[in-house]
């Protein structure tokens, strides 16, 4: 964010980050199969950086474990995210970052649906439709500027 640019939501509420998941005995056991569960998906997206704030989506409560649903057998993942304010112009970008992160991190068999938590954004339907349109998503990722912002959201924090 360039200095002097006005933030839409200058003082967001900041939430505590959850603790890392400690490896369980089961996870350490070679023979066991660990199904992909909602916490695992949440762990993939929680550290995504917000495009506006030096905070993670988890810290802004944009993503929450309860809004992640996964069915490993049927290979479906659904993530609802909550923009910090109902008129947040970054909503599409945040959704795009979540979607891209999951597309890069999950097995290809998964169908990934990312949408806005119902009732939390003024342009909910329009944003959802864009995020669901894979042609638009693909084209967006070929747009250098957009890709740059998305990659910044997905980069590890310095």
């Amino acid at each position: 964010m360039a200095a002097g640019t006005r933030l839409e939501n200058a003082n967001p509420l900041v939430y505590q980050r959850s603790k890392d998941r400690p490896p369980s005995a089961r996870e350490e056991d070679e023979a066991e199969t660990d199904p992909i569960d909602h916490r695992e998906i949440f762990d993939l997206i929680r550290s995504i950086n917000d495009p506006e704030h030096p905070l993670s989506l988890e810290e802004l409560n944009v993503v929450e474990p309860v809004r992640v649903h996964v069915n490993d057998e049927e290979s479906t993942v659904t993530v609802a995210f909550t923009p910090t304010i109902p008129h947040c112009s970054m909503a599409t970008l945040i959704g795009l970052s979540i979607k891209v992160k999951l597309l890069r991190s999950l097995p290809e068999r998964f169908k990934v649906d990312v949408h806005i938590t119902p009732g939390t954004h003024a342009s909910e339907q329009a944003v959802n439709k864009q995020l669901a349109d894979k042609e638009r998503v693909a084209a967006a990722l070929e747009n250098t500027h957009l890709l740059e912002v998305v990659n910044q959201c997905l980069s590890g924090r310095l």
Binding site: D43, R109, S155
Partner: protein, 945 residues
């Protein structure tokens, strides 16, 4: 301004278009909704009903998007308009209902209009002759009003119920039924006045019971049979006022031949018992009981049986809720009497088919409440006890005991003081013990689980004679018996010392052939006995009595006075080790080990080594190793002082044959373990474990002399176990031993290579800090500079079979070195490391990967030269069968992204594709690393990285 419209009756598209503009206008506040009515004026009054219909349709579409922003006056006028239109031509009704539906959602609807709308609906519209979607609108209107206008609607009194009943009567569509059921239920639960229409409301809904609905294939509405069943059940079971109609209906369906109807009836019965009291069910009890009993006795379906039992339990709970009046009959009591009368006698026939169904029925009835449990249990228990004793066949006793066990479990449910079992505890214990000593294994198994259940009961049910336990542990087959003993030894140590230990002692000195067959001692009775002794040694007092028994047993083995096997000795050592672990925290027990146990064990070993006549069992490798482990365990928590004394005396024993440490100073000859005689050499193992478990500041006396002897043994001995042990012993003492030469040995090479790991790493088993080894970095560095060139040279000159030994050793060494030391040697080492990655030994792979990982960050220039090979090898290891290897290789793939971009970018597409497979690894920890690595590779050469 808004133009007067002429609705083109031919083209619906035009309407859509105009609706669009209207809506925009209304939302913007440019027009009021009434302007729309006015604009539609001619059209709404057109003599042609279709045209009027289109007008209303348009208006309703406008309402659809604007109802929430309409002003109260507008809502009022529109509502009155719509009410009036209900009288119009039937072609228009559909659009009128549409509009009314949106108006019913308006928050500013003036009071009175909800009632007026409903009255008009009930009066003007014959709901069931409408289309499905129109009927749906009617239900929506009712439902919307119930949500927001409850008070007004209640003002309608029973007329409201009556109107609704008429409206839904005959409904066939599942979507509408779901709504109608929901409305009906709310009428009951929100206490609308039902007036004289209780039975009518019941009839209009219960006529669908039981639901038989198969959704059409590809049904877009996704309504399931289950949804309808639950929704209907919710209304049927919603009020006790339906009881007099519902219960006969349920009995009728239960008596039919249709399986799903039976299940549904039983589930509905269970549901309504939640709200019912004695008053509602009393008259139907005999019929209900006989139906449930019949189903459980006769059905082949587990589903029906379990639903029947649930219903019976619910009935019992329901009856238990009623207060016992002094003047009225206790209906629970008489109901349970019926159940007992019909079922109890079947328990006397354990061979017959009805014994289990009867037991389940009795238990279901009993589980309704504490009172029910008490009544049934006190009635059934004496019978079962009597029957157990009456029957002699194991299978019959097995059945009875099984039933008994489930009744005992039942009493767990209520945490009350008046446990109905208390009165029978002595008999129960006797019975259980007799089951445990029965020759039937099956019976013993049920016996032990019953014992466990009894053990967890409220009240001390099991304070009986623990002497029985000695027998139990020896004879019973399952681990449950052992677990029970452990628990009880904590509670009754004295009983165990006085009764059990002597029994065990006797058992140990008995030769197997003398064992009575009737005890069921089929296999390894001594080992079980030895295990039992260890298991119960949880208390210092017990330990003082059990450990001598174990030691004596070992002595007997050593003397050869028993007919024994290697396993007997190993098992005795394991038991001692277990005791040593259990007593680590207790200082007095620890001291006891140091004072008595360790010298005794050493003495035993020394004596058997010196024993002239034939090989002793105690000199077998596994036994020696096991002895060593006991000593090592005993010292792992001990203090310096005693350890210091012990090691000094051990060393002087080994070097000078000073046997003053040993308890009985009666050795047949001088002890000289370093004379290479097979048996004595084995004792080195004891020394190994001992030295490892001591703190280094204790200092090993006569260190150089000892080392000299050990080295000599290491080089001269032809016995592999001896010289590897000796080598490990040297390593333990000085952290250093001559492994290098062993690498070339095809047999010993792999172990020697692992020895490098022992020497230089913090690996867990030998030189960890818990074992007090002093790990010195400088030492490692010196080791490296001295040995690495030799290793590399050895690798190049080694044959194909031995190369991996060098790689393994090398990767171990590199893994633990400061990187500055490594860098200078790196170029020559890297080719070696790449070969090591292809080695099939997973340990080599792991340690090589561990070694590569930091190099990727610290020596990018050198690593860059090998990127192609490296990526291929790492990607192939990412699918290794070993999880740790997969993780480590993925971490390296991740670290590779830190190499100069131009070096790795050409590999981006291939790597990203290859990394999709580990994303679907079955282990979460692997997937996590794969996702991290793949994410970084995506960012390579991409903007915003």
């Amino acid at each position: 301004m808004i133009y007067n419209l002429e609705v083109n009756s031919n083209c619906a598209l035009v309407i859509n278009y105009r609706v669009f503009w209207f809506v925009l206008g209304v939302i913007d506040g440019k027009y009021a909704a009434l302007d729309v009515v006015e604009a539609l004026g001619t059209c709404l009054t057109n003599p042609e009903p279709r045209t009027r219909g289109r007008g209303v349709q348009l208006l309703s579409q406008v309402l659809q998007v604007s109802y929430s922003i309409l002003k109260q006056k507008e809502v009022e006028v529109l509502t009155i308009f719509y009410i009036d239109r209900l009288k119009d031509h039937h072609l228009i009704t559909s659009h009128v209902l549409q509009g009314m539906k949106f108006l019913s959602l308006s928050p500013v609807l003036p009071e009175g209009l909800a009632v007026a709308t409903l009255k008009a609906l009930f009066q003007e519209v014959h709901v069931q002759s409408l289309m499905q979607s129109e009927r749906h609108s009617v239900y929506s209107i009712i439902s919307n009003f119930m949500e927001t206008r409850e008070k007004e609607l209640k003002g309608l009194g029973a007329d409201f119920i009556f109107g609704f009943i008429q409206a839904m009567d005959g409904e066939k569509d599942p979507r509408n039924l779901l709504m109608a059921f929901q409305i009906s239920r709310e009428m009951v639960t929100k206490k609308y006045e039902l007036g004289a229409f209780v039975e009518e409301l019941f009839e209009v809904t219960s006529c669908y019971f039981p639901i038989d609905f198969t959704p059409p294939p590809n049904d877009p509405h996704g309504i399931s049979q289950e949804e309808l069943i639950l929704s209907l059940r919710a209304i049927l079971a919603s009020t006790p006022r339906f009881a007099e109609f519902l219960l006969p209906l349920l009995i009728e369906k239960l008596d039919s031949d249709v399986q799903p109807a039976k299940v549904d009836s039983l589930q509905t019965l269970t549901a309504c018992c939640n709200d019912y009291r004695k008053k509602e069910v009393k008259d139907f009890l005999p019929a209900l009981w006989s139906s449930i009993r019949r189903e459980v006795f006769q059905t082949a379906s587990e589903k029906i049986e379990s639903e029947g039992l649930s219903a019976l339990q619910a009935l019992s709970t329901c009856l238990s809720r009623s207060v016992i009046d002094s003047d009225a009959e206790d209906s629970l009591d008489s109901f349970l009497n019926n159940v007992l009368q019909d079922c109890k006698h079947h328990l006397c026939e354990p061979d017959m088919k009805l014994v289990w169904p009867s037991a389940k029925l009795l238990q279901a009835a009993a589980s309704g409440s504490h009172r029910a449990t008490y009544k049934i249990t006190t009635s059934v228990l004496p019978l079962l006890l009597e029957e157990f004793n009456k029957h002699t066949q194991s299978s019959q006793r097995w059945t009875i005991l099984g039933i008994l066990e489930s009744f005992i479990k039942l009493t767990h449910k209520w945490e009350r003081d008046d446990n109905p079992l208390s009165a029978f505890k002595d008999q129960l214990c006797l019975l259980v013990f007799s089951a445990l000593t029965d020759s039937s294994v099956q019976l013993q198994i049920v016996g032990t689980s019953t014992l466990a259940v009894l053990g967890t009961q409220q009240g001390d049910l099991l304070h009986t004679d623990t002497g029985h336990h000695a027998e139990l542990c020896l004879s019973a087959h399952s681990a449950a018996a052992m677990a029970a003993s452990v628990t009880m030894s904590r509670i009754h140590p004295s009983a165990f010392i006085t009764r059990m230990v002597p029994a065990m002692t006797g058992e140990l000195s008995t030769e197997p052939m003398e064992v009575k067959e009737s005890r069921g001692l089929l296999k390894a009775p001594r080992q079980r006995c030895v295990q039992a002794l260890a298991a119960i040694s949880t208390h210092p007092d017990v330990l003082r009595h059990t450990v001598p028994v174990l030691l004596r047993h070992l002595m007997d083995i050593q003397k050869g006075s028993l007919c024994t096997e290697v396993e007997d000795a190993v098992s005795a050592c394991r038991s001692l080790q277990l005791v040593a672990e259990q007593c680590q925290v207790a200082e007095e027990s620890s001291e006891y080990f140091h004072q008595t146990v360790v010298p005794c064990l050493l003495g035993l070993a020394v004596r058997s080594a010196l024993q002239g006549c034939g090989p002793s069992i105690l000199c077998e490798e596994p036994v020696i190793a096991a002895l060593g482990t006991v000593i090592s365990t005993a010292y792992s928590h001990t203090h310096t002082q005693p350890a210091c004394r012990t090691i000094a005396r051990v060393v002087s024993l080994y070097l000078d044959g000073d046997a003053s440490l040993l308890p009985e100073n009666d050795l047949p000859s001088t002890f000289q373990p370093f004379q290479v005689r097979h048996d004595t050499s084995l004792l080195v193992v004891v020394l190994v474990t001992l030295s490892l478990s001591l703190r280094l500041q204790v200092g090993v006396p006569q260190r150089d002399r000892l080392l000299g002897q050990l080295l000599e043994m290491c080089c001269v001995s032809g016995h592999r176990f001896t010289y590897t042990s000796a080598a490990k012993c040297i390593a333990g003492i000085v952290n250093k031993y001559p492994l290098l030469m062993l690498l070339a040995d095809p047999e010993l090479g792999p172990e020697a290579a692992d020895g490098f790991s022992l020497l230089v790493s913090d690996s867990t088993d030998v030189l960890n800090r818990a074992s007090h080894a002093d790990i010195r970095i400088m030492y490692r560095q010196r080791f490296f500079t001295e040995n690495v060139p030799k290793l590399v040279q050895g690798f190049h000159s080694a044959g194909k079979d031995n190369k991996s030994n060098y790689l393994k050793a090398l990767s171990h060494v590199m893994n633990s070195l400061p990187k500055q030391v490594l860098m200078t040697e790196l170029p020559s080492l890297l080719t070696l490391l790449l070969e090591a990655l292809s080695c099939s030994d997973q340990v080599v792979q792991l340690s090589t990967l561990g070694c590569l990982h930091p190099l990727l960050q610290e020596a990018p220039q050198i690593v860059s030269l090998h990127v192609d090979t490296l990526i291929s090898k790492l990607l192939s290891l990412a699918t290794s069968p070993t999880m740790k290897v997969r993780i480590a290789s993925l971490q390296c793939m991740h670290a590779m992204t830190r190499l100069p971009t131009h070096v790795i970018l050409p590999h981006k597409a291939r790597t990203i594709r290859a990394l999709t497979q580990p994303l679907d690894d079955k282990k979460r920890l692997v997937r996590k690393e794969a996702a991290l690595a793949r994410g970084e590779w995506f960012l390579l050469g991409s903007p915003g990285r």
